[in-house]
Structures are given as C-alpha cells and as structure tokens.
C-alpha cells in the first residue's frame, strides 16, 4: 500500500468523555469510542457524539438553548481544540507519545468563542476546508482559479470525499487542479504549515513532556517552500526545506565541527542537516533526508497543505 493511501486511511481511536460538570444522569454515561480520520475534522463527529450524550447532558436553567443547538467543543487536558486544524495534526502536536485511545472531553456548554470562531454545522467546516484549499492553491499557482472554477457539484463531491475519506473520489476531482504549479514561469511553491513547540530540557522522554496548556505555547506558521533546482542525482530534502524555513533551529554540520557528518555527500545544500529536536508529519518521524517533494506529495493533509509538527529545544 503506498504512503499516500496509508495517510488517507489513517485514523485515530478517540475516547470521548462528557465533561463531568455537565452530566445530569446517574450513573454517568460511558465514554464513546470513535475512529477519527487523520485527514478530517473533529466537528464532523459532532452529530454522532451529540446523539450519544444528549440525554445525559444537564440542561442549563440560564440558557434557553436546547442541547441540540449547542455547539460542541472538545478539550485535551484542559486545552480547547481548534476545530479547523485537521484531527491528525492535533493528535500529533498534543500527544507526542501517542495515547491510544486519545482521551478527549466533550462539552455542550461554554463554547470558547474568544479563542475560536464557532462553527455552525458541517457547512461551516466545509467552508473552512474550501478556504484553506484556496490558500494552498494560491501558494502553488499564484491564483485560486482552479478551485473557483470547480462546478458546485464537484465542490460538493470534493467535500464529500473528505468526509468519507474517499481518496479515489478526491483524486478524480482534484485532478483538475493538482500538479506542479508555475507562477510567472518559475516553479510554484509547496504549501507548508508548521506547528512549533519550544521545549525546555531534553526530548529524551516524550512521556515527561508537559501537556500544552495554552495555544500561546505553539507557534503556527505558514511557510511556502520553493523547491530549489537540484543537481544531477541530488534531491532537495525535507531537511533542506526545514533549514530554509526555520534557519534558527536547523543547522548544517559544517557549522559545528563536533557534529561532522560521516556522509560523504558534498553538495550545494551542505553536508547534512543537524537538528536536536523532533519532527512529526502524519504520525511519523520522517528521515530528514527524504526528498521534500515526496513528502509533500504523500504526506499532505486534505487541504493540500503539508502540516509539520516540531519540538525544538529552547528557552
């Protein structure tokens, strides 16, 4: 099975527990176990979660909103989860050492609207997806024409392919606009989104890593990467791309004599990329020598962005 299919079919087992302060029944409801697609969004599970818990939820005397209208939100160890970030990215970022199942708390009340805009149903999630797809398209081609030119039918089917995790259906429609972009004769760029956490002390024991308490601890960056022309036989690697976008964290071994590489590769990009932290893409810690265009083609998320989680030793 090729890498891309693995990613498309990748799913995370999640155990949803109702916020104890919202439970009206005794005994408390058992957690709901669901598989969530990596290249999906948590709100797409809201309907099933709502159906399962709604009879157990306290109705608030101060609110006239029935539980059927309340917007569900989720937290992991107290951190509200941003719903527009693909589920797999949230899991990788917040659970460096994967927890199976992933224990999330579901809330019917108290949507943190200061922190993130509410989503009104699946339509809002679809809109967010289409919008991010346009941003990716803009980065790749310098315009959003190909996405805008999709028929309403194709747009609906594209969204549906994401909801169902149907890679073939997605590819059939996306064939209208994938392929290397060109902007004014130059190669287009690869859409890259980085999630950077500075970690005090070493990363030797991922279990001892403190959970993220606030989104302020995570730097979320969009960094389009131009794949540089490579010499015969040499690929522009993932490491090369990371050196370009985050030079302050990635060094090449030529700068540090103590880390001289035994790799005899001599090229314009330096003898090798050194990094003291951890990189995770779609649940794997990839070799930094992987060709970057392979990574982009196979490990991208549903909006055609490649999401990279990074833990860097820092202050």
């Amino acid at each position: 099975m090729d890498a891309r299919r693995h990613v498309w079919e990748g799913a995370i087992p999640i155990s949803f527990q109702l916020d104890p302060s919202e439970i009206a029944t005794a005994p408390a409801p058992l957690p709901l176990l669901l598989m969530a697609a990596r290249n999906g969004y948590l709100p797409l599970l809201a309907t099933r979660i709502r159906q399962y818990f709604q009879n157990a939820v306290l109705s608030s005397p101060s609110s006239s909103t029935p539980s059927s209208d309340q917007i569900l939100w989720f937290d992991f160890k107290g951190l509200p989860l941003k719903w527009h970030i693909p589920t797999g990215v949230l899991f990788d970022l917040l659970c460096l050492e994967p927890q199976r199942p992933w224990d999330l708390t579901v809330h019917f009340r108290g949507y943190p609207s200061e922190m993130m805009a509410p989503y009104e149903g699946d339509e809002a999630v679809k809109w967010s997806f289409m919008n991010t797809l346009k941003e990716a398209s803009y980065i790749i081609r310098g315009n959003t024409k190909n996405v805008m030119d999709l028929t309403q039918n194709d747009q609906n089917n594209l969204w549906s392919s994401i909801v169902k995790g149907d890679m073939e259906e997605h590819d059939r429609i996306a064939a209208q606009f994938v392929g290397p972009g060109r902007i004014e004769g130059k190669p287009g760029k690869v859409p890259l989104r980085l999630y950077v956490r500075a970690v005090n002390g070493g990363l030797d024991d991922p279990f001892s890593l403190a959970p993220v308490k606030s989104w302020n601890e995570v730097m979320i960056l969009t960094r389009p990467v131009e794949i540089l022309r490579q010499e015969e036989g040499l690929a522009f690697t993932l490491g090369d791309a990371l050196v370009k976008v985050l030079p302050q964290y990635f060094g090449s071994s030529s700068e540090d004599p103590e880390h001289s590489s035994s790799d005899s590769r001599v090229d314009e990009y330096g003898p090798g990329v050194q990094f003291d932290g951890t990189v995770k893409i779609q649940g794997i810690q990839p070799n930094l020598d992987l060709p970057f265009d392979w990574v982009a083609r196979n490990l991208a998320g549903q909006e055609h962005f490649t999401h990279v989680c990074l833990w860097v030793p820092g202050k």
Partner: protein, 86 residues
Amino acid sequence: ALAVKVQFVSTGGAPVLIQSEFKIDATEKFAKVLKFLRRQVQQDNVFPFINQAFIPSQDEPVGDLYKNFGVHGKLIVNYAPTLAWG
C-alpha cells in the same frame, strides 16, 4: 519592532474607511487584524480576504501573511459585507 503596512480595501458595498492604511506589529495574529477592522468600520459583518482569494487562518501572524502574500510593500486585505469569494 517590525511593523507591516496593512491596507484595507472595501469591496461589495462595505463601508469605506477614510483612513485605510495602518501599520500593524508583525507578530500580531490575523484575528487581531480582523477585530481591528471590524472596530474601524463599526460593524461585525465584514469579511476579510487576502488578494481577493481566501480568508487566512486567525492564528497566522501578520508578518507571515505579508511575507507570503504581500504585494507592493503592503498586505492588502479586501473586506466585503458577505462571504463573497467562493
């Protein structure tokens, strides 16, 4: 601190600003820019777009947006009274 020149351009009948160009700290997230815009035009019903193409993520620092999508030394943010694009 590095500041980014942000130019707000009204489209689709959205209120026009007398002063439309502002300097915003590069580290500010787009969410702040949107809040600022809504205060300036004095209504919540305005939707921002970058280069008439897409709405950026609320978490994106303005400096990044300028680096990736800026034109002519500015970050141009169109705003419309409806979600007009797409």
